[in-house]
Amino acid sequence: MKELKHDPHAVEQEEWKKRQWKERGKQLLTIASPVFILLLWEVVSRTGIVDARFFPPPTEIVGTFVSMSASGELFHHIGISLVRIFAGFLLGVIPAIVIGLFMGLYSPIRHFFSPLIMALMPIPTLALLPIILIIFGVGEVSKIVTIAGSVFFPVVINTVAGVVNIDRIYLDVATNYGADSKNFFFKIALPGALPVMLEGIQMGQAIALLTIVAAEMMGANSGIGYLIWTSYKAFLLPEMFVGLVLISFFGYLFSLLLRGLQSKLLPWR
């Protein structure tokens, strides 16, 4: 029964490799689950369990995707939207982090801003479009601002939560060792809030994608969002689904990238 293995290093290395494999297995799961959903969709669509007129099977969407790509126009749409998404994302995330840190650290600031945030957050983007139009016109800026506006909220809320949840002892240590406010910010509040903040950024990333349709509903001539709503309006559902699947795909891709970034940024966990 007892089979002695003589090199614990080898065993533990083996164990580690197994864990790495398991990790890879989980990553496989991460890849498998969308594939699984697509397969399921294909089946229920083909067998008529769902109405194929409204949910064309993925293979048909792929076909549409291929024929759309052929013209190269699709990549133009993707490129333009990605630029808008990145710009809007950054424009939303950076102030959200800064304001969130201040709010987390100074309770009067928190008490002043949080009702505003809570009151502004539920305002539908759709209703903000005319306001944004008036202030920023129909150009690129208005689209970027629209995205930034909706990215801002989840990031600021999670940043505040992150800061407020930092264990008091670390704040005491920083105070006792005479951290000035800059160091307090960058050495304690920022890294301490980071885990929860990153979840907010993860959400913000999804919301940037979510908002691209609304942003490109005003005065756009291209972009994935434009593609989606014009296809939808024209009842070209396979084309619309190409747009939606692209959005999903980027949501998935960006979240993987952010997860990667996360383990880089949080080596101490």
Partner: protein, 255 residues
């Protein structure tokens, strides 16, 4: 044999780097024995306890804990980091193990009250941990293990930051629980005096990688007092021997 370990080795491995925390531990502990574990900081004592507690898996080698088949938990641990759960009150923390085992309410209540009184926290039963001093948190974690009434108590420096008097009271309490219930106790401490006072056997560990390279059987009759321990010649010998052992180990690991 209550606990038996056979060539137990634990390596922490991460991306090409490895730390050998424990190496070839062979050990048997009799049912009802009180064993103390002494060794320099970082030698693997906590790791050993965590393996017995089922929180860590050995790399190679094996261990076994014999169950008495009674309706009692096999082992409970007092953690070095205390592990007092912040969202439970003092009372809820102490009754945690009992509730996990679905012990009848009346018994939970009675035993919790009993051990809260024993550790002197009955007045603080309804406070949350954040309102306690460091020593009080430590007592909560000890009361939790006592209340759970396991066959084996695994105690990782339980009395380390207690004041002398509370330490004394709790040592007494531990010994009386031990002798009444015939528990097996595995106890980590850095205080040689404490080890001499409490144990049937003291195991000395080497610094990294942790091995058990000496054991000392303490035959002094019980009950012992600290005065007895300090005045007894054999005990003084033991004291010096352990001290020298630690001296060597720490010096060795520091150069």
């Amino acid at each position: 044999m209550k606990i038996s370990m056979d060539a137990l080795t634990k390596v922490f491995y991460k991306k090409g780097q490895s730390v050998t925390a424990l190496e070839g531990i062979n050990l048997g502990i009799e049912d009802g024995e009180f064993v103390c574990l002494i060794g320099p900081s970082g030698c693997g004592k906590t790791t050993l306890l965590r393996i017995l507690a089922g929180l860590e898996k050995p790399s190679t080698g094996e261990f076994a804990i014999a169950s008495s088949g009674q309706d009692r938990p096999l082992q409970s641990m007092v953690f070095q980091e205390r592990g007092v759960i912040p969202w439970l009150t003092v009372k809820e923390n102490v009754s945690f193990g009992l509730k996990m085992r679905h012990v009848p309410k009346a018994i939970v209540k009675e035993r919790t009250a009993y051990y809260l009184e024993k550790v002197g926290l009955d007045k603080f039963a309804h406070l949350y941990p954040k309102e306690l001093s460091g020593g009080m948190k430590q007592r909560v974690s000890i009361a939790r293990a006592f209340a759970n009434d396991p066959e084996i108590l695994l105690m990782d420096e339980p009395f380390a930051a207690l004041d002398e008097q509370n330490k004394f009271i709790l040592q007494e309490e531990l010994l009386s629980i031990w002798s009444e219930t015939k528990k097996t106790v595995l106890f980590i401490t850095h205080s040689i005096d404490e080890a001499l006072l409490l144990s049937d056997r003291i195991l000395l560990m080497t610094s990294q990688p942790g091995r058990i390279n000496e054991e000392i059987r303490i035959d002094m009759p019980r009950p012992r007092t600290m005065e007895d321990v300090r005045s007894d010649a054999t005990m003084t010998d033991h004291f010096v021997r352990i001290r020298n052992h630690l001296d060597r180990e720490v010096q060795g690991s520091r150069t």
